[in-house]
């Protein structure tokens, strides 16, 4: 998530500028470049060049390398290294780029070229410095959060919860960009039952459909994730409730959404979270005399043979 944000906040115009400069420096080896990167249009080299650069998650690293004056090989190596993390597109591009950069490095060492390169590097430094000067306010402009389309919904949800149940009801609220900008809110377990009733009955929300309940053992604590949907407005929210690992306990919402009944039993069975207020909390998957809760990360079977 953070990688993506960095990518987006880096001003694209300055990237392209410095690329253009670098391109100048590498100009003496055009044949290798053109042969290697078939995709790069000879008339508009900037674009072909800048797209793999833009995929790079850490724009900060660039100035350091340019100062050492070994631009051709290093970027290729780096983008190959980060390619896997950045996703499939970046990997493909890195692979394409490598053969292009290698011949350029071989053709480099004449004096004139070195001079040109030094000059270009200086220019690039200047360009980057100005870009850096621009950067901070550009970041502020974009804001720490990309204005998510669901941000107003999340803000409203938090407002409702805090207004009805007090400030301490909401521990945290954020947008899960990976999950189609799902609004996430972490509710304090002490207020969860009241919050659940509110979510179901509130005029605006009417979250009458509990889609899914998941328990997670986060090793430091336990959490239960509720995916809620309103069949009136077709809007979705996700609520998380955290609890202590040793005495895991979260108020049951079975009286609010009867569908939680077996889901909570399953979570109790497999993760050992207690749900006070549940009408019939007992094991559902494992047999009644089972020892331990299998989905806990530190679970050791009592009898390894079974």
């Amino acid at each position: 998530m953070s990688d993506e944000q960095k990518k987006e906040t880096a001003p694209p115009s300055s990237d392209r500028e410095s690329d253009a400069v670098k391109k100048e420096a590498e100009a003496p080896a055009p044949s290798g470049q053109a042969a290697g990167s078939a995709e790069a249009e000879p008339t508009t080299p900037n674009e072909g060049q800048s797209s793999p650069e833009a995929e790079k998650p850490a724009p900060k690293a660039r100035p350091v390398k340019a100062d050492k004056e070994e631009p051709p090989k290093a970027p290729a190596g780096e983008s190959a290294g980060t390619g896997e993390a950045a996703g499939p597109a970046a990997e493909g591009q890195a692979a394409e780029k490598e053969p292009a950069a290698a011949p350029a490095a071989k053709a480099a060492p004449t004096d004139a070229e070195k001079e040109a390169k030094a000059k270009a590097a200086a220019e690039a430094r200047a360009a980057r410095a100005s870009a850096r000067a621009k950067k901070p306010d550009a970041e502020e402009d974009a804001g720490p959060k990309e204005p998510s389309p669901n941000q107003p919904r999340l803000d409203r949800l938090v407002q409702i919860l805090k207004h009805e149940l007090g400030e301490e009801a909401v521990a945290e609220a954020f947008i899960n960009e990976r999950d189609a900008h799902m609004p996430y809110v972490i509710v304090n377990s002490g207020k969860w039952f009241e919050a659940a009733e509110l979510l179901r009955d509130h005029e605006e929300l009417r979250l009458n459909y509990l889609r899914n309940v998941t328990g997670i053992d986060q090793e430091t604590h336990m959490e239960v994730v509720y995916h809620l949907l309103s069949l009136h407005t077709k809007q979705e929210y996700c609520v998380k409730v955290k609890t202590d690992r040793d005495a895991a306990s979260i108020p049951s919402v079975t009286p609010v959404w009867p569908t939680a009944n077996w889901n909570e039993r399953e979570i109790y069975d497999l993760l050992g979270i207690d749900f006070p207020g549940h009408p019939d909390l007992r094991r559902i998957m494992m047999s009644d005399d089972w020892v331990g809760h299998p989905l806990r990360k530190d679970y050791e079977p009592l009898d390894p043979e079974v």
Partner: protein, 366 residues
Amino acid sequence: MIRTEELLLNVGPQHPSTHGVFRIVVKLDGEVITEADPVMGYLHRGTEKLAENLNYTQIIPYTDRMDYVSAMTNNYVLVHAVEKLMQIEIPERADFLRLIVMELQRVASHLVWWGTYLLDIGAMSPFLYAFRDREIIINLFNELCGARLTYNYMRVGGVKWDAPEGWIEKVRKFIPYMRDKLEEYTDLVSGNEIFLARIRGIGKYDADTAIAYGLSGANLRCTGVSWDIRKDQPYSLYNRFEFDVPVGTNGDCYDRYLLRFEEIRQSLRILEQAVEQFPAEGETMGKVPRVLRAPEGEVYAGIESPRGEIGCFIASKGKDKPYRLKFRRPSFVNLQILPKLLVGETMTNLITILGGIDIVVGEVDC
């Protein structure tokens, strides 16, 4: 005066009408059920625990074995969730193949339901008809991926096998054939007096109850709630095709029966359009890294399986294996309403109501 006494009866785990290893403990007052307690877990294999030690591709075969009557949609929900998390685009041809197999699977699954449901109620021959026609779909799948039941067909980023030559043609030919047969089925069963007497007005509930119990699929739509994920939160290519979401009015077993029938018709309609628009050529696998390392984050993907909403929740810590994987299984969730429906019903209706919910025990227990 006749002395009456409460009788505790174990139905299952080995009872043919429970469609697997599933048990209900019922308390009977004469012929009438006063209390019912479903007991499950006989088929619990710990899929979610196993998945934590497997990489994403290795989990796919396990999804086949959850709802073994509808393995294709199970495959899809997992790869769809991983693709959502990793933001992978898949090629159009792969998307088409996925959609076609999923809709074929829906038809096949509803046929199994239809056949076995009538068998439960006491009609033998529909079962044979249903399996005869399902066989065609199974053979199509066999040609496509070499398996008849556990396909392991989809991959993160696409599908494993491209359609062999002439395969699409066979699907095209299947559509009118199946339409024809549906008419035959309707003539044979749907208007039958005895059948109607057995299922009309049985296992009735209203929309609020259905929503509160989190029912999905035909179990929800039979009460008049129009919620089909294919329509309301389109995934794959469903927004490209025209189809209706049939809804019932009474919320009884008969409505659920009619709905599933209508859903077969709608699936055939989608199939017809999909086969027509099927791209002549193209890739079947998108660009995916060799090692699937999902970035840190959480994602939930829900799709419309023949039984309702099947969902997959993944919590990833940036490794090639999920930190926590949870399946929302429609059979498990839909089954919750059973004890409520059974109270006050007779033993014979137990079978009718249980069959009407349409469960697959492999999925209930997971």
